[in-house]
Amino acid sequence: MIPLSKPKKGASGKTGMWRTEKPVLDKERCTNCLLCWVFCPESAIYRTEDKVEIDYEYCKGCGVCANECARGAIKMEEE
């Protein structure tokens, strides 16, 4: 038994299960300012070519992204 653990996504499970509300991104309104991406405590928002995507497998639904989006492009919706 080595006393060392190895990096792994989901070390505490699929944390998307924690969510009661889910952030929904309106890609039309999104200007790709990356505020949601940089503030996400869960590393659950990732950057694609020119937009961001939400990883619902791990997003805990805290709503920080929706609260911080300057364009109102993210809305929290009940699961």
Binding site: M1, I2, P3, L4, S5, K6, P7
Partner: protein, 390 residues
Amino acid sequence: MLGREEIERKKIKEEGTTVIETGNHAVSLAAKFARADVVAAYPITPQTQIVEEIAKFVENGEMNAKFIRVESEHSAMAACIGASATGARAFTATSSQGLLLMHEMLFAAGGYRLPIVMANVNRSLFPPWNILVEHSDSLAQRDTGWIQFYCASNQEVFDTTIQAFKIAEEVNLPAMVNLEGFIMSHTHMPIELPMQDAVDRFLPRREHLWKLDVDNPGTFGSMSNPEYYVLMRKGIEDAMKEARTKILDVNTEFEREFGRKYEPIECYKCEDAETVIFAMGTIGKESKRAVDELRNEGVKAGVARIRLFRPFPEESIKSIAEGKKIIIFDRDCSFGKGGVLSTEIRSVLDKPASSYVVGIGGLDVPYTTIKKCVERANGQKDEWITEVHP
């Protein structure tokens, strides 16, 4: 022209030599010969000379190491842990209160399974203040997952420290070498120093099985469920068992390379003895004189000096003790139970044994006292000897 000191140094390098040195210097020299990479230490009487000497070695380039002048013993062990976790060879030395302050970190070093080596200069514990020898400081660290050796001469201190690195690195456990405050730490005795290349041969660089490596990241000390926690703790116990055999192998290899023989228990006239004394450190050595005197008077006595306390050499103790009257000397006490060594030895015997707590706070223990204890031992009594000549 080389100065006297330089000639001496050159000679040591090329031929090996005998020096007359204190126990503390034996430790510093051993750390140098073992090529410790990182030394983190804090001064405390009677260990201070070790720190001073190593600082000198590092500053004058004799020792290619980083010396971290930490602000406490707790940080000394913390820094050793950090260094060892990167794969470096880490060393420290302490005593008494310093060792007690390290206690938490000793468990950490054992739990991470890091092969850190430490010299501890046995000293009494506060209060009241007393800087003389007692084994209570290191015996209080019994359960921390450290291999523990107890020495009785400066040569043994030097040799055991070199061996400790090899053993620790082979079984991935930290190792502590104990020497006695003042009786050894400040007493000059001859030490045969080996040639550096012989030590290098005996103690090659060994890649740590687990370390902090940016090319292969891993986390030490993650939260663990009982299912994993129990296996990691059992791993420490298993490594201790493995150490029992490894220590014998290392002793053999050491004897082959350097010609000096060590065993977990040093026996003197035990074979035909009717009475066997068990003791650690210099009391074990002083007991030889008592044994000789007793034998002159027709009492067939012998002494078994326990060098290795963890892992505890219980099978050897059983076989040495078989058919003999047993008398155990402790320079320590677990209040409410008595001598720690006695408790441990009795746990593997199936018969009564006499126990004496002696030499507390550095109280002198002459062979006459040991002899007197042997003469009046009845196999039942636990006794504190509170005078030099009881």
